[in-house]
């Protein structure tokens, strides 16, 4: 599917926005590694809505503005401002994995700016008895199996396209991991549980049934804490990055939620 690329700016930040599809508006924060290339999952989403994939600072398309952000509040503000710059203020918001942590913050701090919230295995929670896996302390050859149920799905996301610079591409992939570490290091806990009650919009929580990074049981914490109506749906045959493992199932769930 064709998608349009624009660059938006907000208070000194610039970000790439990839937009495709028609229907209800959905602002989208990608997961671990960001969105280095357009994927089948984005195509699937675009069949259900007008999706605007906003590159967060430091992630592919997000420049090096992560180096200017020193706190979760500054990250949240940047995410909020970029949603506005992308023309998605008041629209639905979807956040996956590390992007989900910032979607949670935006929805909690500025509840009027999000009409509906979709969370796909978001970072941010930490249960001592059932902790998340440390995604930054991994050998490179182990990350694919950690992130996805489908062998090679994560590697395909970060694999260098033939026309990309051989030196800069791996640096850009490392930068994406650095960006997520910058606001989630060392244990990915944002203590968002203290703010969940501020989220009043309808919320869909999706989780890969075989997520080996963020425990699926955390969905219950979100359901219990968020004050708006929360639906929890498990994605069968999917790991942490269910949008790569089961793009159609994820998109169908999102489409039904947005259209309902």
């Amino acid at each position: 599917m064709d998608f349009a690329e624009t660059t938006v700016s907000a208070h000194g930040l610039e970000a790439r926005v990839w937009r495709a599809g028609s229907g209800p508006k959905l602002a989208y924060f990608a997961g671990f590694a960001g969105l280095p290339k357009w994927t089948a999952g984005m195509d699937a989403l675009a069949r259900h809505c007008e999706v605007s994939a906003i590159s967060l600072p430091g992630f592919p398309g997000g420049g090096r503005w992560h180096l200017e952000l020193d706190s979760l509040f500054e990250w949240s503000l940047a995410a909020h401002d970029l949603i506005g710059a992308a023309g998605c203020r008041g629209a639905a918001l979807m956040g996956c994995s590390v992007g989900g942590a910032l979607a949670l913050e935006v929805a909690a701090i500025w509840p009027d700016s999000v009409s509906k919230l979709v969370l796909l295995a978001p970072f941010g929670l930490f249960d001592d008895a059932n902790p998340p896996t440390d995604p930054w302390a991994q050998r490179g050859d182990k990350v694919d199996a950690l992130m996805c149920e489908t062998e090679g799905a994560y590697n395909a996301l970060i694999e260098r396209p033939g026309n990309a610079d051989a030196v800069e591409w791996p640096i850009e992939m490392t930068r994406a991991r650095e960006a997520s570490a910058r606001y989630l290091w060392p244990n990915s806990a944002t203590h968002v549980e203290k703010r969940l009650g501020r989220i009043a919009c309808p919320t869909l929580v999706l989780w890969g049934e075989k997520d080996r990074v963020q425990p699926p049981a955390y969905a219950e914490t979100l359901r219990d804490g968020i004050s708006g109506a929360v639906a929890v749906q498990t994605i069968a045959g999917a790991g942490h990055m269910a949008e790569l493992d089961q793009p159609e199932a994820v998109a169908a769930a999102v489409g039904a939620f947005l259209g309902g």
Partner: protein, 422 residues
């Protein structure tokens, strides 16, 4: 040249199956391997060895900082240095160093180093490492993306705390203090010499030159592997117009001395294989958190891989960094082992070739006993040191060495050490 005696303080009783049955010597090394009652003896042996080295005439004794580490039992090297300040008299105390980004506020480092400088009468060398990823990002939870920014800010705060006479406010990006006013103040003016251990990044070399700090390359892989890095350092000094004073640099080298070649070979085999087999068994998942390595260094690394491989193939200078068998350890130059004359000759070559005026020597490594460590130290002091100490001194002055109080102004400390008389 300056000959400096360096201790890592390795836990000496890691099990034989450590490499096979334990994932890492660092970060998540299991607590059950640590026996406090045995560590009591290790610490006291290690401190005896440092005091012995001071008594044997080494120019400095060196300690460093590691966390959650089976080969480095000094989370706080300042504690050891404090004891050494009282138990030695004229030897420089090189704390190599405090990972300054870890302390909140870093004013703590300014205070403790000032205490050490006062107690020792101005003998402190203040080392400012960024710290390894294992120590800083994993064991201490510091953010790899902000670590270097915090390091630079911590440096600025510490130096200002040492030198600013009036109470000042520090409004940094990561540290805010309304009142900075350290008591005590360092004896050395404007402050103790600052030495910076680092990898091979051009940014670090330039910064050391700009700040007039000593750059130290502290590798466990010896002079052969260090050659390219030190050549790069000196080329950069030349390029930016600095003099070639060898005291701008420090270098670490393992050494084992014996009366005969065979004795030397036999004496250090077990300790060498213990160190390179068990102590460097680090889980690679802790080696490179995202953001720890700057993009400039990543870029330089990627771009130079092809060229480096070609050069190494052409010149046959490739040095393996994973040798664990004794002969390979020696062949690769990780450890220089031999008679006093052989060691002296080799070290003279190394110092000249790498052009380093500060040679940091690991004469204790792995599971070496106190007895063997002191044997090695004594042989070195008595038979190697006299052969190489004069190097560089007819041509260069060491501007980066501590300037202690005159003897007459120093406290009469009952530094006791009977070991050297044995």
């Amino acid at each position: 040249m300056k000959l400096m005696w360096f201790h890592l303080m390795p836990y000496t009783e890691l099990p034989d199956d450590f490499r096979d049955n334990h994932p890492s010597v660092w970060v998540d090394i299991h607590s059950t391997l640590f026996k406090p009652e045995r560590a009591h003896h290790m610490y006291n042996d290690f401190m005896d060895e440092l005091e012995f080295a001071a008594d044997m005439g080494f120019d400095a004794v060196c300690v460093n900082e590691h966390h959650s580490n089976g080969y480095g039992l000094m989370p706080s090297p300042n504690l050891i240095a404090s004891s050494l300040a009282r138990r030695t008299t004229d030897t420089a105390l090189c704390v190599m160093g405090n990972s300054i980004a870890l302390y909140n506020p870093p004013t703590r480092v300014a205070e403790e180093f000032a205490m050490l400088d006062c107690i020792s009468g101005g003998r402190l060398i203040a080392g400012f490492p960024v710290g390894s990823p294992m120590d800083t990002c994993f064991a201490f939870g510091q953010n790899p993306s902000t670590l270097r920014q915090r390091y630079m800010e911590a440096h600025d705060l510490i130096v200002k705390a040492w030198t600013e006479q009036d109470t000042f406010a520090f409004n940094g990006r990561f540290n805010q203090q309304r009142y900075v006013n350290i008591w005590p103040r360092p004896i050395q003016r404007p402050h103790p010499p600052v030495w910076v251990p680092g990898g091979g990044s051009v940014e670090t070399w330039r910064w050391c030159a700009e700040m007039d700090y000593v750059y130290c390359y502290l590798s466990y892989y010896g002079y052969k592997a260090g050659l390219q890095t030190m050549k790069g350092f000196w080329e950069e000094m030349k390029r930016i117009g600095k003099d070639m004073n060898p005291y701008r640099a420090g270098f670490l080298q393992f050494v084992g001395v014996g009366e005969t070649e065979q004795e030397a070979y036999d004496l250090y085999k077990e300790a060498a294989e213990y160190f390179y087999g068990r102590c460097l068994h680090v889980d690679p998942r802790f080696a490179n958190p995202p953001g720890y390595t700057t993009e400039a260094t990543q870029r330089a690394g990627v771009e130079s891989q092809v060229g480096r491989a070609a050069r190494e193939q052409k010149t046959n200078i490739a040095v393996s960094k994973n040798a664990r068998e004794y002969d390979a350890i020696l062949d690769n130059g990780y450890i220089i082992v031999g008679t006093p004359d052989q060691v002296a000759e080799r070290l003279r070559e190394v110092a000249k070739e790498l052009h380093v005026g500060h040679l940091m020597l690991l004469l204790q490594f792995g599971n070496m006993s106190k007895q063997l460590t002191q044997y090695n130290t004594r042989l070195f002091a008595q038979k190697v040191m006299p052969q190489i100490r004069d190097l560089f001194d007819d041509e260069w002055e060491d501007h980066w060495w501590p300037t202690p109080l005159a003897d007459a102004d120093r406290a009469k400390v009952a530094a006791t050490n009977t070991l050297a008389a044995e």
